[in-house]
Amino acid sequence: MTILLFVIALFGFGIGALFLGGLLAGVDRIITARLQGRVGPPLLQPFYDVGKLLAKEDRWLNGFESFYIFLALIIVILSGAFFFSGGNLLMVVFLIGLASLLFIVAAYCTRSPFAEIGAQREIIQVMSYEPMIILMAVFYYSASGSFDVAATVGLDLPLLTQIPLIFIGLLFVLTTKLRKSPFDLSFSHHAHQELVKGVTTEMSGKTLALVEIMHWYESVLFLGYVALFFVWGSLWAVLVALVAVALVYFLEIIIDNSFARVKWQAMLSWSWLVTLLVVSVSVVVAVITNTGLL
C-alpha cells in the first residue's frame, strides 16, 4: 500500500510539479514585470527557455558537473514524492540537504573562481536556513505527534494555530530557499546584482536546464512546507491551503522585488536571530504546557 502510494506520488510529483513549478516561474515573471511597469513575457516563457537550453550544443569543462546536477535533481524528485505521499518530514529535509551538497560540489568541481564564490555563498545559505527548517520539522512532530506529513489530515485545527511562530520563522527562511532577493546570494535571476552567474557560472545547455527544472521542483516542495501549516481534517483545508500558498508566493515575489541583495553576514545573522527568537519562545511555551503550568 505505502509503496503503491509512493509510486503514484513519484509520478504525480515528477510530472505535476514540473508543470506547476514552471507555471509558478511564469507567474513570478509576469508579476515581477508588472511591478516594474513592464508587460512581461507570456506565462509559458519558462518552458520555452528550458526547451531552448535543452536544444543547445553541449559545452563542458569536465564530465562531473552535469552528473552531480542530475543526481541532485533525482534526489529532489524523490524527496518531493516522499513528502506528497505523506512520508517522513525530517527525511525529506535531510534528503534536500544531500541535494544541496551535490549542487555545491557541482560548482566546486568546475574550479571557476566565480562558481566557487557562489558555492561558498550557497553553503552559508544552507547554514542560515537549516536550523529553522530542522526545527520546523521537530516542532511539526511535537505538535502533530508524528513526523509523517500524512498526520496533518488527522488534525482538528491547522498547525498554524498551534505553532504560529514557527510558521513566521519558516516564512523568513523561505526567501532564501526560494532563491529570492535579498537572500539570493549564491545565484539569482536578477542580473544586475549577480557576480557573473554564481554557482551556475560554468553551467550551460542541458546542465543549466536541469538546474532550472530542479529549482521548479524545489519551489513546489517548499510551498508544500507552507501548506503543512494550513491543512487539517476537513475538505475546506484544500482551499485554505491553496489560498495560503498563493498569498505566500505573492508575498515572496513582492519581497524579491523590493529588496536589494544583502551581504552574507546580514543574511546569516538575521536568519539565525529570527530562528533563535521564534524557537526560544516556542520552546518556553512548549515547556510551560508540557509541565502543566498553563
Binding site: 505505502t2 553541449d58 559545452r59 563542458w60 569543462l61 569536465n62 564530465g63 562531473f64 552528473f67 543526481l71 517522513n88 525530517l90 527525511m91 535531510f94 534528503l95 540537504g97 544531500l98 551538497l101 555545491i104 560540489v105 566546486y108 568541481c109 568546475t110 574550479r111 571557476s112 573562481p113 566565480f114 566557487e116 564564490i117 558555492a119 561558498q120 553553503i123 552559508i124 544552507v126 547554514m127 542560515s128 537549516e130 536550523p131 529553522m132 530542522i134 526545527l135 521537530v138 512532530y141 511535537s142 513526523f147 557573473v196 557560472t201 560554468e202 550551460s204 553576514q265 546569516l268 539565525w272 530562528t275 533563535l276 524557537v279 526560544s280 520552546v283 512548549a286 515547556v287 508540557n290
Partner: protein, 668 residues
C-alpha cells in the same frame, strides 16, 4: 571467558614481541597476524555473545588485583620519571597523588570488599570490542606503511640538521632520528589491550587499571616524535587525563568505603538509577568527560595531533576518547533529569556547539577532524546525559559511525599529507585528479559524517526525536544550529577535494600496499555498518537497552522501564536502500566520468589556461585567479570564541561538582 582473556593477552604478547625485535619484516608479520587474530577473536565472541543476554564471570584470583596495582604504580612511576626529567611539576604531582590513592584504595579501603563478578560481556561491550579489533586493527596495519614514510621523512629532516654542523643540533638530531618504531607499534598494541580491559571489566578496580593504562599509552604516543612541541603536548594530555584518573580513583574510594560498598559496575548503575551515590557518579562523569576531551579539556586532544597520524586515528576512533564516552553511556541510566544528568548534558551541548563552530574557521585538515571529533563526543555525552533509552540508542550509533568514519578520514589525511607535504585543506585542491582513489575514500568519509543515507545522520535524526520526547527542548536549538555548522565545514572541504583540473599528474602509485589495504578496509567497514544499521538496531542495540531494564530492581518505574525503538523499521530500511543505491552509483560512475572538456573556465579576461586559472588582464599581462575557501574567522575563530566558551564550561563543571558534593553531604 576464554576469548576475552585472548583479546587482552594477544595484543600484550604482540607488544612484547614488537618491543624486542627490530626487524622490519618480522614486525609486519607480527602486526598483521595480531590484528587478524584480534579480529577473529572479537568476531567469534560476537557470534557467541551478541544475541545472548549479559554474562558475568567471577575470576578467583586475588593475585590479579596486585598485578594490576603494580602495573598502575609502574605507570605512575614512569610519568613521575618523565615529569622530573622535563621539569613538568604538575604531572609529577598528579602522578604522585594518583599512586598514593591507588595504594590506599587497593591495600586499605577495598581490602575487605569482595566482588561477585569481575568480568562481563554484553552487547555494548561487544560493539566496542568489534570497533577496537576491526578499526584499531585496521589502523595498526595501515601504520606499517605510514611509519615507513614517516621514518624516512624524519631521517631527511635529521640530515638537514646535521649539515648545519652545530654540535648541539647534531646531538638533538641524533635523538630525533633514532628508529623507535618497534616501541611505537608495541605501545599501539598495549593501547588495544587496555581498551579491552576497560570494556569487559565489571570490577571497577580493573576498569580503573585499564583507564590509567590508556592514559600512559597516549602519553607515550603523543610524545613519540620527541620534538619540543610533542613533549609539551604529551604532558598537557597526561596532566588532564591524570586529573580525570584522580576523580575516578576518588570515586572508587568513596564507593568502597560507603555503608554498602560497591565495587562493581552493574551494582553501581543500579544504585545510581535509584538516586544514591550522586557524588561518586559525578566524579566518574568528570573522569569520562576529561578522557572524551570535553570542554574545557578539549585542548589535550587538539594538541595530540602532533603525533604520527595513525596515533590520531587510534585516539579519535577506537580508543581513548571512546573509553570516555563508553563510560558515560554505561552510566546513562543514572543520569536523566538529576544533577549529574543535567551536568553532562550542559557540558556536552556546549562542547558540541563550540567545536562545530570553531571547526569552520580551521584550514588545517587535522584540526578540522579533531574539532569534529570533540563535537561528536559532545553530542554523545549530551545524549548519555539525557539518559533515556532512545537517547542512548542514538549515542551508541553515533559512537559506531563516528569511529568508522574518523578512522578512515585520519588515515586518508595522513596519506595525503605524506604526498602533498601539507595538511592544509587549501592544498588538497584537485586531490580528485592527483589521487583519485584516495580522494574518493576521503569524500566517502566526509559524507558519511553529515549526509543522510549514512548512519551518522540517521543517528542524529534519532537524537532529535529522543531529545523532544525526553522534554529537553533546549537541546533542539543546540542540535539544529550545531548540525547546520557541521554542514559548513564538511561541505567546503569536500568541494576542494572534488575539484578538477586535468593538468595534474597522479601521485597515487607511491602509496604503500599496507596503507592502501588499511584505507580500503576501513571504507568497506564504514559502508557495511551503515547499510546494516537496521539489523544492528534490531538485534544488538535494542536488546542491550532491554537488558538494562532487566538489571534494574523490580520496583523501578523510570524511563528505562519500557524500551522501544523510536525510528520505525520502514524509515531505517529506506535509508539503507538509498545508501546502497547512492554508494553504488557513485562508485560505478565517478571513476568513469572524466572526459576532456570542450570549454574553458570564464576568468573575466582572455583565458589562457583553465587548469592554471591564468588569464590575460587589461594590461596584457598574465594574471592568476585564485580562490580560497572562506573560514569566517571574525565570527567563528578560536580567538573570538575560545576563552569565553572555556570559561563558561569551567563554571558549569565547577558548579555541578560542588552541587553534587552538597547533595551527597545531605544524603549522608
Amino acid at each position: 571467558m576464554l576469548p576475552i582473556v585472548f583479546l587482552i593477552l594477544v595484543p600484550l604478547a604482540a607488544a612484547l614481541l614488537l618491543a624486542l625485535v627490530r626487524d622490519e619484516r618480522f614486525r609486519s608479520v607480527v602486526v598483521i597476524a595480531a590484528a587478524v587474530a584480534l579480529m577473529f577473536a572479537a568476531g567469534y565472541l560476537a557470534t557467541t555473545g551478541l544475541f545472548s543476554p549479559t554474562q558475568f564471570f567471577k575470576v578467583n584470583a586475588e593475585a590479579i588485583n596486585y598485578i594490576l596495582l603494580v602495573m598502575d604504580l609502574i605507570c605512575c612511576g614512569y610519568i613521575v620519571y618523565r615529569g622530573v626529567r622535563h621539569k613538568h611539576s604538575l604531572s609529577v604531582f598528579l602522578a604522585g597523588v594518583q599512586a598514593a590513592l591507588l595504594v590506599l584504595f587497593e591495600l586499605v579501603v577495598a581490602q575487605d570488599v569482595h566482588t561477585i563478578s569481575d568480568i562481563y560481556v554484553d552487547q555494548l561491550s561487544l560493539i566496542m570490542a568489534l570497533i577496537i579489533a576491526f578499526i584499531g586493527g585496521g589502523i595498526c596495519i595501515y601504520a606499517l606503511g605510514y611509519m615507513r614514510d614517516a621514518q624516512s621523512h624524519q631521517k631527511r629532516h635529521v640530515l638537514s640538521h646535521i649539515h648545519g654542523g652545530d654540535p648541539a643540533r647534531v646531538a638533538e638530531a641524533a635523538v630525533l632520528g633514532t628508529d623507535r618504531r618497534h616501541l611505537f607499534f608495541a605501545i599501539m598494541f598495549v593501547f588495544l589491550a587496555a581498551m579491552f580491559m576497560i570494556i569487559f571489566s565489571n570490577n571497577l578496580g580493573w576498569l580503573l587499571a585499564g583507564w590509567e593504562l590508556t592514559t600512559v599509552c597516549s602519553f607515550i604516543l603523543i610524545g613519540y616524535t620527541r620534538t619540543d612541541e610533542a613533549t609539551a603536548n604529551s604532558f598537557k594530555a597526561v596532566s588532564i587525563n591524570l586529573a580525570g584518573g584522580l576523580a575516578f580513583c576518588t570515586a572508587l574510594i568513596l564507593l568502597a568505603s560507603g555503608e554498602n560498598p560497591i565495587l562493581e559496575l552493574d551494582k553501581l548503575i543500579v544504585a545510581g538509577a535509584g538516586g544514591s551515590v550522586v557524588l561518586p557518579i559525578a566524579l566518574l562523569a568528570f573522569a569520562g568527560l576529561t578522557k572524551a576531551a570535553q570542554m574545557p579539556f578539549q585542548s589535550w586532544l587538539l594538541g595530540a595531533m602532533v603525533a604520527p597520524t595513525p596515533v590520531s586515528a587510534l585516539l579519535h576512533s577506537s580508543t581513548m576518547v571512546k573509553a570516555g564516552v563508553f563510560l558515560l553511556i554505561k552510566l546513562a541510566p543514572t543520569f536523566g533529569w538529576g544533577i549529574n544528568g543535567v551536568f553532562v548534558v550542559l557540558v556536552g551541548a556546549l562542547t558540541f556547539l563550540y567545536c562545530s563552530a570553531v571547526a569552520i574557521s580551521q584550514s588545517n585538515a587535522k584540526r578540522v577532524l579533531a574539532y569534529s571529533t570533540v563535537a561528536n563526543l559532545g553530542l554523545i555525552a549530551c545524549l548519555a546525559g539525557v539518559g533515556t533509552p532512545e537517547a542512548v540508542w542514538a549515542a551508541i550509533f553515533i559512537l559506531i559511525f563516528h569511529a568508522a568514519a574518523k578512522a578512515l578520514l585520519f588515515c586518508c589525511v595522513g596519506t595525503a599529507e605524506h604526498r602533498l607535504h601539507s595538511r592544509d585543506i587549501e592544498d588538497m585542491d584537485n586531490l580528485f585528479v592527483r589521487m583519485p582513489r584516495l580522494a574518493m575514500l576521503m569524500a566517502l568519509g566526509m559524507i558519511a559524517m553529515f549526509i543522510i543515507p549514512f548512519g551518522m545522520l540517521v543517528s542524529k535524526w534519532a537524537a532529535l526525536v529522543s531529545v523532544v520526547d525526553s522534554g529537553h527542548f533546549e537541546l533542539l536549538i543546540v542540535l539544529g544550529f550545531g548540525s547546520a555548522m557541521t554542514f559548513v565545514f564538511w561541505a567546503k572541504w569536500l568541494g576542494k577535494v572534488l575539484a578538477i583540473a586535468s593538468n595534474q599528474s597522479s601521485l597515487e602509485q607511491s602509496i604503500h600496499k599496507s596503507e592502501r589495504f588499511g584505507l580500503g578496509f576501513l571504507a568497506v567497514l564504514l559502508v557495511v555498518t551503515s547499510a546494516l544499521l537496521p539489523l544492528i538496531s534490531a538485534y544488538v542495540v535494542v536488546p542491550y537497552l532491554s537488558g538494562i531494564t532487566q538489571l534494574l530492581p523490580s520496583g523501578y518505574t523510570g524511563v528505562w522501564a519500557d524500551v522501544s525503538p523510536q525510528l520505525s523499521m520502514d524509515n531505517l530500511l529506506i535509508m539503507a536502500i538509498v545508501l546502497i543505491a547512492l554508494v553504488a552509483v557513485l562508485a560505478i560512475r565517478l571513476p568513469r566520468l572524466a572526459k576532456q572538456g570542450n570549454d574553458s573556465v570564464y576568468l573575466s579576461g582572455v583565458g589562457q589556461d583553465s587548469d592554471e586559472r591564468s588569464f590575460t588582464n587589461a594590461f596584457s599581462q598574465t594574471s592568476l585567479a585564485s580562490q580560497r575557501n572562506w573560514y569566517m574567522e571574525q565570527i567563528f575563530g578560536e580567538k573570538v570564541l575560545e576563552f569565553r566558551s572555556n570559561l563558561l564550561a569551567s563554571v558549569v563543571l565547577g558548579a555541578f561538582l560542588v552541587l553534587a558534593l552538597i547533595v551527597e553531604a545531605n544524603v549522608l
